[in-house]
């Protein structure tokens, strides 16, 4: 089983991101479960959503306590929420930021998981460029496919098109593809700060 926890703020499409991940996994013939952390739905409040992916039926209903991957949609949460709680050894961290992990002061996290398991991607900027809005969720899913290798980019873009038909979907797909490229490049570059 592969477990994902997505952190963001109300209004950033955190719940939709988990939903699209589950749809992408379903399209690949796997079992998937996505659910929100059931917080009160206020703009700007810290929000979590979860996604589990497996090759067999998923029965557990507990929140994801030991994630294999963390997607952090809003880096300002770094100082507010215990984001890295329970992260599995060898897990992945993907952060929406134009700053590097070192600039964010979290480069030491890479020691436990490997430098190519910790990436930042300017998802809000990419979303703004391609969609005209700074909603980072779809772009981050492209980044997720790149950093974890758990899903094909094609499945992710198919799920995005399913969720947002028409032009909105296409522009979000473009943002996801750009984020995918960014993360692939960043992962291949040598560990400059390690």
């Amino acid at each position: 089983m592969f477990q994902v926890r997505i952190h963001g703020r109300g209004g950033q499409g955190v719940v939709s991101a988990a939903e699209m991940l589950s749809v992408a996994a379903f399209d690949e013939g796997r079992f998937a479960q996505a659910f929100p952390s059931f917080g009160s739905e206020r703009m700007g409040a810290p929000v979590m959503a979860f996604c589990r992916i497996d090759t067999r039926e998923i029965r557990s209903r507990e929140p994801v306590m030991q994630p294999d991957a963390l997607i952090i949609q809003d880096p300002t949460l770094l100082h507010q929420v215990d984001l890295f709680s329970g992260l599995a050894a060898g897990g992945f961290i993907l952060i929406n930021s134009r700053r590097s992990a070192e600039e964010l002061g979290i480069a030491e996290l890479a020691h436990g998981i490997g430098h190519d398991h910790l990436c930042t991607v300017p998802a809000s900027d990419l979303a703004l460029k391609h969609t005209g809005r700074s909603m980072p969720n779809a772009a981050l899913l492209g980044g997720f496919a790149a950093i974890t290798g758990q899903l094909h980019l094609d499945s992710v873009t198919k799920a995005i098109r399913e969720k947002f038909p028409g032009k909105v979907g296409e522009s979000n797909v473009a943002a996801a593809e750009a984020a995918y490229e960014h993360v692939m490049k960043e992962r291949q570059s040598p560990a400059t700060h390690a």
Binding site: V23, P36, F38, A45, S60
Partner: protein, 417 residues
């Protein structure tokens, strides 16, 4: 068709396939996406022959369903939490009048304190109102139970609640096989009411009844539920034959054959429990779980048969009968009348408190050592409780409990789980 979809939406699709003729709902909190989905289907023409009525309250929602059901229309509504309390009088009326309404409960806690999260307090508050209550374990079963619910309700002329864990199921995306219209049509015949308001053949429904007849009318409600004990497994079997998968029934036993410890629970927590059972079985623990699908009628014989060989029973409940403890455990103890075994009641998950596999494992191992108290509270924060009690001992005007505790806990949202 197999699809990855939200629980609420899967339920809406299943209800639509049942060809409802009237859907009435009060479409704000505490409502789920179910009626929103159905409203869209009526509006876009994909659900025909159905009137969607936006009402002004939950009391009106069920009152309208009573009226439309009495007029011979297949009627559906959904609610949760304070919503079902607000319609309480109508809940009893629907059952007393014997009207086969189907209602989804997206199970949530009841305030005060205000809380929108999952537990079973809402449907449990109406457990003796005369409705059949079925509890879904996952979203496939949630969808399937609605199809069975209309069949059962109309066969008996008795209303049915399908109880689905709020958020945990209603807001979860998972794979659900949505049946075809032809399959549902084959399973669910058109509604033939046993009583109907008809201008050409007038009757009055809801007469005042004195001491000479009230008792008998009430007894006949009980009789219907006793009949449901036979019909529920029968309709579940027919469902399995036609749809090719299991759903519903009175109870479902998992790894119970040689189990010394059997856990009993309702709803979605059974999934987490099964994972823990597998984990414990793998290292030699003789443990199993009995899932109660039908809570009303309470299947005394089926529960007794399933539990009689166990050494101990742990009833895990998502509601607290304040002043006594368990609700489900009362039924389980009645089922085990005369049988000597250890029985434990565990209250868990109130107001959306996460029920984790880790806590369940520790709990079950404690039960195996017979170190559990008769009544216990899973993952209750005793420090917080003790601080509040101490405040009360220190000063008379200790202030509002919920606010005091929130202040002790610090900012919400900073914790995981």
């Amino acid at each position: 068709m197999l699809k990855q979809t939200e629980g609420s939406h899967a339920i809406a699709e299943a209800v639509a396939l049942c060809r409802p003729e009237v859907i009435c709902a009060y479409p704000i909190t505490p409502q789920t996406h179910i009626v929103e989905g159905l409203g869209e289907m009526v509006k876009d023409g994909s659900l025909t022959g159905c009137e969607f009525i936006n009402v002004e309250s939950e009391f009106a929602a069920l009152s309208v369903a009573i009226g439309s059901s009495a007029a011979g229309a297949r009627s559906y509504t959904a609610t949760a939490s304070q919503g079902i309390l607000f319609m309480a009088e109508a809940v009893y009326n629907a059952a007393g009048l014997g009207l086969p309404i189907v209602m989804t409960i997206g199970n949530r806690a009841i305030g005060a304190p205000i809380n929108i999260w999952n537990d079973h307090s809402d449907s449990m508050s109406m457990r003796d109102a005369g409705w059949i209550q079925l509890y879904a374990e996952n979203n496939q079963e949630a969808a399937d139970l609605h199809i069975q619910a209309f069949r059962l309700a109309e066969e008996l002329s008795c209303p049915v609640m399908v109880c689905v864990d709020g958020f945990i199921l209603t807001h979860a995306y998972e794979r659900v096989d949505i049946p075809t219209q032809a399959q549902v049509d084959e399973y669910l015949p058109p509604f033939e009411p046993v009583q109907q308001l008809d201008c050409d053949d007038p009757v009055s429904i809801g007469a005042m009844v004195g001491p000479e007849a009230f008792f008998e009318v009430r007894y006949l409600q009980h009789y219907k539920q006793q009949r449901a004990l036979e019909l529920i497994p029968h309709f579940a079997e027919e469902f399995k034959n036609l749809f090719g998968r299991e759903a519903g029934g009175l109870v479902r036993a998992y790894q119970c054959d040689d189990a010394e410890t059997i856990v009993v629970a309702l709803g979605s927590v059974n999934g987490t429990i099964k994972d823990v059972v597998d984990e414990m079985r793998a290292v030699g623990h003789r443990i199993g779980v009995l899932t109660l699908c039908s809570f009303r009628p309470f299947p005394l014989t089926a529960v007794r048969t399933a539990l009689i060989k166990a050494k101990r029973v742990v009833v895990l409940e998502k509601s607290l009968a304040v002043g006594i403890g368990g609700v489900v455990s009362d039924g389980v103890r009645k089922a085990l009348s005369g049988v000597v075994l250890r029985g434990y009641t565990v209250i868990a998950g109130l107001g959306g408190r996460a029920i984790t596999g880790k806590s369940l494992r520790a709990l079950f191992e404690k039960a195996e050592r017979d170190e559990l108290e008769m009544l216990s509270f899973l993952d209750l924060n005793w420090d917080v409780v003790e601080r509040e009690l101490e405040r009360g001992r220190q000063q008379r005007r200790s202030g509002p409990t919920a606010e005091n505790i929130l202040r002790d806990l610090g900012p919400a949202g900073a914790r995981i789980g």
